[in-house]
Assembly symmetry: C2
C-alpha cells in the first residue's frame, strides 16, 4: 500500500479554502483597485468589507452551514459575498434572476436559503413570492439608488448601512475543504431546475487550473497581473465562470459593470482600460452593434466566448475591431471551465487562426477529457470521429442537489457526461458538434442532426428544417426531416429533398446512415417559449411508424 | 457546522495525484520534445517510457509503498523516475550525490530504500558502501558510456535494456493523495542529514502554485508554453525546485543537461534555444566566466537564482549579458518555492529594477508568509522591522522523517519556521537578512550579525570579522566581534573598532544594541570544512564572561 505521510501534531495541514486565495494578493497588491460605479476599493479595503459582511451576517444569526442567497447585478457587493459567505462556512446561493418568479421561489426553497441579499430591482419579484418561501428568515437590501429598506422583521437593513456599523475584523475559521461553498441551479428544456454545488477545494482548484490555462499562453488569450478584469457573464451564472476568483488571487484590477448596458460597458472600457472579459455571443453582438462601441477603442480586449458557439461572422466582426476573442467551454456542472481555444504562436496570422479561435478548445491542466462511444471506448483523435464528451477534473459537481437518480446518470461509469457530442484532433482541440439529444444513433453510428439540417437548408426551396430521430426496431433510430418550404417554391417534392441529401452522402460529406428515411413538408416547426426548436414535441408529433 | 458536499456513488472524487499532471500535456502537446544528450523524446514517447519503467520495477518485485532511490545526473531518465515511481504508489528517494559515501549510506538506510537506480559514475561509491546498506535489495544501472552492468543477483540490468524489453502500457492506480511521493535529505552544519517528504497532493499543489506565480508575471520572469526549460539545480535537490513538474504540466520543451559542464550548457543554450532555467549563484558565475559563454548569445535567458543570495555584482554581470535573472526563495522543507522576486512592469527600467531582482521575493499564490517576533506577533510591513520568516502553504513538509522532536520544532505554533530573519515591505517583498542562528537577540531586539560585520569590515584596518552573540544574564545575548586585522595595519586598538560601530549606531544605521560589548583581535576565524564561518565553534571559544 502507498504510505500516507506522517504529520507532526503542530503541522498545519492546509485545507484548500477560499480564504487561502487571498494571501498573496493582499500582501503584494494591497492598493490594487476593485471598482463598481462610484465606488473604488483597494484590495485592503475590499478585505475589510469582507470581514464587515461576515460580522453583519453573524449578527443576523447566520451560522456555519446556513445558506445565504444573493440576487444582485455584478458588483463589488457580489464579490464580497463570493468570499465572505463561504469563508464563514456558509453556502452562497447565486440566484439566477432571469428565472421566472416561480422558479426563483423553487430554487430558494430547494436550496433551503436562510438569508437573502436582494437588490432593490428585484423587490417586486420578492414581494410576489415571499409567501411561498418556506426557509427564508431574513433579508438584506442592496441598492444603488437609495431605495429605502422595508421596515419590519423581515429585513435586517441596507447593506452599506449594516457594513458601516460592523467591525472590520473577523477571524475566518478553518474547516473541512470539502465543505459546500456555493450552490446554483441549471435549467434544462424539461423538468425543474437542478441544483449543482461546489466545495471550497473545488473552487480553489478551479481557480488554480484556470489560472494556469490562461496565464501559460505565450501570446494569444493570456491573463497576467497587468490585466484589468471585467465580467460580462453574470456572477449568478456559474460564478461568472470562476474568473472573479482567478482575478482576485492574481491581484489584478477588477471592474464590476452592474446590469449589462452597452454604453456603460463601453465607458468602463475607455475609462478603466478593461483588457479581459468573458461573455456569451449575444452580449458580444450587443456591444459591437451599440452606438457607443463606434467611439470606443476595443483593441486588445481579450474576451473568452462561451455558453453557445460563436459564429464565424461574429468572430470576424470582433477581430476586425481588434478584440482578441476565443472560445471557452464548460457548463454549470463543471464549475465551469474545461477547455480554452487559445491559438499557438505558430498559428497566429495563419489561415487557420480564426478557425482555431472558434474551436471548442483544449483541456486545462488537470482536465482529463475524452470522446467516447456508447461502451466508453475512446474515439480516435483524428478530428472527425465523434463521441460523447466525458470528463474528469478536480472541480466537477459531485451530483445534483437532493437528486440521487439524475446524479448517477450524470456520473455513470465514473466520468461526468456532458451530453455534448464532439471530436478531438491530434493537437488536442475539441470540437463540439451537437448536443447528445440532437444526435441520431442509427446502425451503430452517430449521425448529427445539425449537419443534416445544414445540408437540407442549402436546397434552394427550403425555408427551414428540423431533423429528428425516431425509434426503429432494426436500426435503433432513423432520421426523418421536417421541412418548411419557401413560399415561392414550386414543383419540389419530398423525394427531391431526399435525393439532395443522398448526393451529399455520396460525396462523403455525411454517412449514408444520415439520409432521412422520410422527408415531410410542414407549415411550421414546433418551438419552445424562447424560440428554440423543440425536438421533444416533434418526436411526439412524428412517432415511429410500423416497420415495413 | 459547514456542510460537506454529497458525492453520488459513481462520481470521481479526483485525488490530486502526480499522474493527473500529465493529462493536458499529453493531449495538447504530444509531439513536444524532451531532450537528453542524443536522445530526443516526444511527450508521447516519454509517457511510454514512464509506463515501461513502471513495468520494469514491477517485474523486479517493487510494490506500492516501496522506496526507489536514484543516483543520477539530470536526465530524461530522472524525469521518468519523477513520474513513474510515485505514480506506482512508491516513494522516490532523490539521493544527494554530493554527500559523503557514509552520509549516502545513512540516507539510503534511513529512508529504507528497497531499490537503487545508479549512474555508472557512482558505482565506486556504491561499491564502497554496499556492505553497509541494510534495506537495499536490487539495483538498476544507468549509463551514458556503455558501462557493462555488473553480473550477479544485486543488479536487475541496465536501464535502457530493461525498458526495451518491458511493456509500454501500465495502468497507474488511484490511491490516497496524501501518499508519500518523494523523500530526500537536507544537511545542516550539525547532526545527521534530516529526511523531508512530500505527498502527491503537495507536489500537485506546488506545481499549480508555482505555475501561477511564474506565468502571471506580465513581462519579467514569466514562464509560458513557448519556453524551453533546462534545470541547472540538480534534480536530487528539492525536485530541481519542482520545475520539471511545472514544465511537464505546461507541455513545454525540456532539455536535460546531465552533469553541469559549462561548455555543454552553452552548447544546449545555442542549439536547443533554452529560455528558462534556475540555479545557485555559483553555477551562474561558472557559466558566465566560461570560455564558451563568450560565444553564446544569452539574451532573454530567464533564470531564477536561489539557494543563496545573489550579489549585486553577479546580477549586474548577468543583466549585461542579457540574462533575465531574478531571485526565488525556498528550502528543502518547502518543496521548495515560496517567493519570486519578479519585477512589476512599472519598475522595469527604473532605478530600483536591479534592487528588486535581488530581493528575496513576493509570495506565490496560496503562500501565507509572515515575519514574526518571538511571541508570533507580526512585524510591521515597513521594509525594515525584522522577524523570523514563518510560512504556511499547501506544500510544506509535515515533519522530518522519523524525527518527532525536530518535526515539532519545525512547526511549533502551527507555522513552519524557516529560521530565516527578514523584513517585508508595503509591496509584499520579503528581504531575508540573516539566518536565525546568526542573529543576536539582545534587550528584546534582534540584531543582525551580518550587518554589524558589514560595518566593521568597512574599517580600513580590518581584513575580516565575525560577530557572534554570547549569553548575557541581563540582555539575553550581547554581540562580540572577532576581528582579523590587515597585515599592514598599525596603531589600531579594539576600542577604535568599537567606536567605528558606535558611529554607525549614532547615524541610525543599526540599533545601539548592536554595538559589540567587546572587540577581540584574533589571527584567524574558525571555519567549516567547506570554508564557511563556523560560529558554533566561535561561540564555544568565546563563552559568556561573568556579569560585572
Amino acid at each position: 500500500m502507498p504510505q500516507v505521510i506522517q504529520q507532526t501534531p503542530s503541522a498545519y495541514g492546509y485545507p484548500l479554502l477560499i480564504k487561502q486565495l487571498l494571501h498573496s494578493a493582499l500582501s503584494t497588491a494591497p492598493d490594487q483597485e476593485i471598482i463598481y460605479g462610484q465606488r473604488r476599493l483597494t484590495y485592503t479595503g475590499f478585505y475589510q468589507r469582507v470581514q464587515r459582511l461576515a460580522n453583519v451576517l453573524k449578527e443576523m444569526g447566520v451560522q456555519a452551514g446556513n445558506t445565504v442567497a444573493v440576487m444582485d447585478w455584478d458588483s463589488n457587493r457580489y464579490l464580497e459575498c463570493f468570499f465572505a459567505v463561504p469563508m464563514m462556512g456558509c453556502v452562497l446561493q447565486t440566484v439566477n434572476v432571469r428565472l421566472s418568479p416561480e422558479q426563483i421561489a423553487y430554487t430558494l426553497n430547494h436550496a433551503q436559503a436562510d438569508v437573502l441579499l436582494v437588490n432593490s430591482d428585484f423587490m417586486p419579484v420578492l414581494k410576489q413570492i415571499r409567501g411561498e418561501l418556506t426557509t427564508l428568515t431574513r433579508c438584506v437590501l442592496l441598492t444603488d439608488d437609495n431605495t429605502p429598506c422595508p421596515r419590519g422583521p423581515g429585513f435586517a437593513g441596507e447593506y452599506e448601512e449594516l457594513l458601516a456599523q460592523a467591525e472590520a475584523s473577523y477571524s475566518f475559521p478553518d474547516f473541512d475543504e470539502n465543505a459546500r461553498a456555493t450552490t446554483f441551479y441549471t435549467t434544462g428544456t424539461t423538468g425543474l431546475p437542478k441544483g449543482v454545488y461546489f466545495s471550497h477545494r473545488q473552487l480553489v482548484l478551479h481557480t488554480l487550473g484556470t489560472t494556469a490555462g490562461l496565464a501559460l499562453a505565450p501570446q494569444q488569450g493570456r491573463l497576467h497581473r497587468d490585466d484589468v478584469y471585467m465580467p460580462l457573464t453574470p456572477m449568478f451564472h456559474v460564478h461568472a465562470w470562476g474568473l472573479p476568483y482567478v482575478a482576485t488571487m492574481a491581484g489584478v484590477k477588477q471592474v464590476y459593470p452592474g446590469r449589462y448596458v452597452p454604453d456603460t460597458i463601453c465607458r468602463l472600457i475607455r475609462e478603466e482600460k478593461v483588457t479581459f472579459s468573458h461573455c456569451v455571443p449575444t452580449i458580444l453582438q450587443m456591444i459591437l452593434s451599440s452606438e457607443q462601441a463606434r467611439h470606443t477603442d476595443l483593441t486588445g480586449w481579450k474576451m473568452i466566448i462561451g455558453g453557445s458557439a460563436m459564429t464565424g461572422a461574429l468572430a470576424k466582426a470582433a477581430l476586425e475591431r481588434g478584440l482578441d476573442v476565443f472560445t471557452g467551454y464548460g457548463m454549470s456542472e463543471t464549475c465551469p471551465v474545461l477547455t480554452l481555444a487559445q491559438v499557438a504562436t505558430a498559428d497566429l496570422g495563419s489561415d487557420r487562426e480564426t478557425t482555431l479561435r472558434l474551436k471548442t478548445g483544449r483541456p486545462l491542466p488537470l482536465v482529463a477529457l475524452r470522446t467516447v462511444d456508447g461502451e466508453m471506448n475512446d474515439c480516435p483523435h483524428d478530428g472527425k470521429s465523434t463521441g460523447e464528451v466525458v470528463v474528469r477534473a478536480p472541480w466537477l459537481t459531485q451530483g445534483y442537489l437532493h437528486q440521487p437518480e439524475t446524479s448517477e446518470d450524470l456520473w455513470h461509469g465514473g466520468w461526468l457526461h456532458t451530453q455534448d457530442i464532439g471530436h478531438i484532433d491530434g493537437e488536442g482541440y475539441l470540437q463540439v458538434t451537437d448536443r447528445i439529444k440532437d444526435v441520431i444513433k442509427t446502425g451503430g453510428e452517430w449521425v448529427s442532426s445539425l449537419q443534416i439540417e445544414d445540408i437540407i437548408a442549402r436546397h434552394p426551396a427550403v425555408a427551414e428544417t428540423a431533423v429528428i430521430g425516431i425509434q426503429d426496431g432494426k436500426w435503433g433510430e432513423r432520421p426523418i426531416a421536417l421541412v418548411v418550404l419557401k413560399k415561392d417554391s414550386t414543383g419540389v417534392n419530398e423525394e427531391d429533398i431526399r435525393r439532395h441529401v443522398m448526393a451529399a452522402a455520396e460525396a462523403g460529406t455525411i454517412s449514408r446512415y444520415g439520409v432521412p428515411d422520410r422527408v415531410q413538408f410542414v407549415t411550421e416547426l414546433a418551438r419552445t417559449s424562447v424560440g428554440k426548436l423543440n425536438k421533444r414535441v416533434m418526436r411526439e408529433q412524428y412517432p415511429a411508424r410500423e416497420n415495413k
